[in-house]
Symmetry: C2
Subunit: 365 residues, 2 copies
Amino acid sequence: MQHPENDAKYTGLKVNAGVTSSPSVNPYRKVVRKKRILTPGEYVEGILKGDVSLLGRAVTLIESTADEHQAVAQEVIEKCLPYSGNSRRIGITGVPGAGKSTSIDVFGTHVVKQGHKLAVLAIDPSSERTNGSILGDKTRMEKLSLEKDAFIRPSPSSGSLGGVARKTRETIVLCEAAGYDRIFVETVGVGQSETAVHSMVDFFLLIQLAGTGDELQGIKRGIMEMADGIAINKCDGDNIQRCQIAAQQFRTALMLFPPTPSKWVPEVVTYSGYYEIDIDKVWDMIDRYFDYVTANGYFERKRNEQARYWMTETIEEQLRARFYHTPGIRELLEQKELRVLNNEQSSFIAANDVLDYYFKSIKSL
Amino acid sequence: MQHPENDAKYTGLKVNAGVTSSPSVNPYRKVVRKKRILTPGEYVEGILKGDVSLLGRAVTLIESTADEHQAVAQEVIEKCLPYSGNSRRIGITGVPGAGKSTSIDVFGTHVVKQGHKLAVLAIDPSSERTNGSILGDKTRMEKLSLEKDAFIRPSPSSGSLGGVARKTRETIVLCEAAGYDRIFVETVGVGQSETAVHSMVDFFLLIQLAGTGDELQGIKRGIMEMADGIAINKCDGDNIQRCQIAAQQFRTALMLFPPTPSKWVPEVVTYSGYYEIDIDKVWDMIDRYFDYVTANGYFERKRNEQARYWMTETIEEQLRARFYHTPGIRELLEQKELRVLNNEQSSFIAANDVLDYYFKSIKSL
């Protein structure tokens, strides 16, 4: 599908890009403050023109929990869908301390210098609870936040992982419709969010350090087998040799893994985010991947599988949410759990008792 | 909890053990043929005495889909629960060709010779569809099937993975109540069933061969990080050196993984199932594991987590089953999927339309 930005009628209308939360550069400042909701058509028109301010405001609607915002947001998404899909979606993860922010800053700048428009999104369901750093925060990406072709958006911070992930995924649609042809989705490497990210990106990059055992403490088990590429950071100065040894160890480890569904053999490269060494090596690897999966048809197949996955996932998450939010269910579950742990009742009987209660509740509504 | 077999009043009543499907050694042969359902109390009494025939018949009820069988089965399980838990549950997996049957045959014989009572169960939801070998089939375990202290039961072959897994888990309860203090749960290493097995055993053993890449083709990604131990089979003759090299490679790979929740460092050993070489090395590793997790409290904690997991899992599986079996849902899902794949509707809107239909259907029932 042709991107509207490539149509002559849109190209003249491009507005200054940049980060979204800077009301001082926004001519409609008062309007933004009052948060007047535009019509879906107005948002869509703005997004298709590449209007960063309207894009940002539409994303805010996606992130809102208010019903009237959601209604507009969903219509905007639906109208943007036909213009979405024309991007390379890259998931980036790594433990805290691996240097994700610095890396994304230089990776992003590299990509923008190549002439691409880049959106940096994030999934971090824990950010609100822990008051930790909010992923994707532009203050962590000094160089990139100065680039007009970079749109940086922190993680939606409220709600369940499923909810946060959905919002990020819907934001991808809007960004693509706005002409962003490179999407980064950042995530911490410690939780359940990697699976969610893995199912919305084309390439999954794991940032590692030249450490073993305890240094990997926080990282989620299983994540290495999700990676399409491993990039070992901080390969500079007297750390170079350790990094090269680590790279060789990771290569050996990956050899022991079964082939990936794409048949792509995950690669291991070294670089230094801080000193900007070998950034192009990382990016060459990612380019090779896209050439490979485009040629063998896996790119298309995976995108379709992901669309199916998200539909199913949304359904099943809603089924669970309806259940767990039914009044009385939490208390009943706690009682039953005690009985199960005391070997007084089997998990199956306990589960069925709770289900009976639930389905009776639904019918009586 | 004291096992009833250790009580004086039961010890005189032990009947001849062996495999279950041998009506010729059963004095109640006609009764078995007519499949008369006993009362739950009769099954439980027999099971607590270690009566293999009644144990086998009770397991058959667990596997049955008939409502009247399930009702009795659930009562039997509930009554056996207080006598369950006193065993070491060991999951065993590996790709076809890794020599699982031979290995379980010699591992099992080894365990029985040590004075334990062993139940060999299996999870293989695919066995019916593929007409493949039904895991746990006693004909594949020649030595073990002659041991009176071994109870071998093929995989329940019908139903969903969730259903099959539940039946296996419930069978564990009955076997433990019948005095089996070692449980093997076998699974093929190629599907989704490893996660189910992993969540019902204490120790998860991965049987590997000294091969890399293509030879691991069939195995599920992520499985290596689930393993508490890797045993490399066929370490005999001119294959010894390759196995030792492979063992070292696996050790290096495991070192790159983050620590396990138990803090146990997964070990890699080599053995030969066929030539019965170093079987004790495999078993020493497993014993070390149990000493370790018993001492640090992880054993107990994991058992409790598993009980909670199975209750939650049963609930969520039933929520899904009710949804997918609602008349009209399949067709609606197919229509919606097409729209999603054609970018005509977002996954979220499509999912919500289907959910609306579902909840209206439930209420009108």
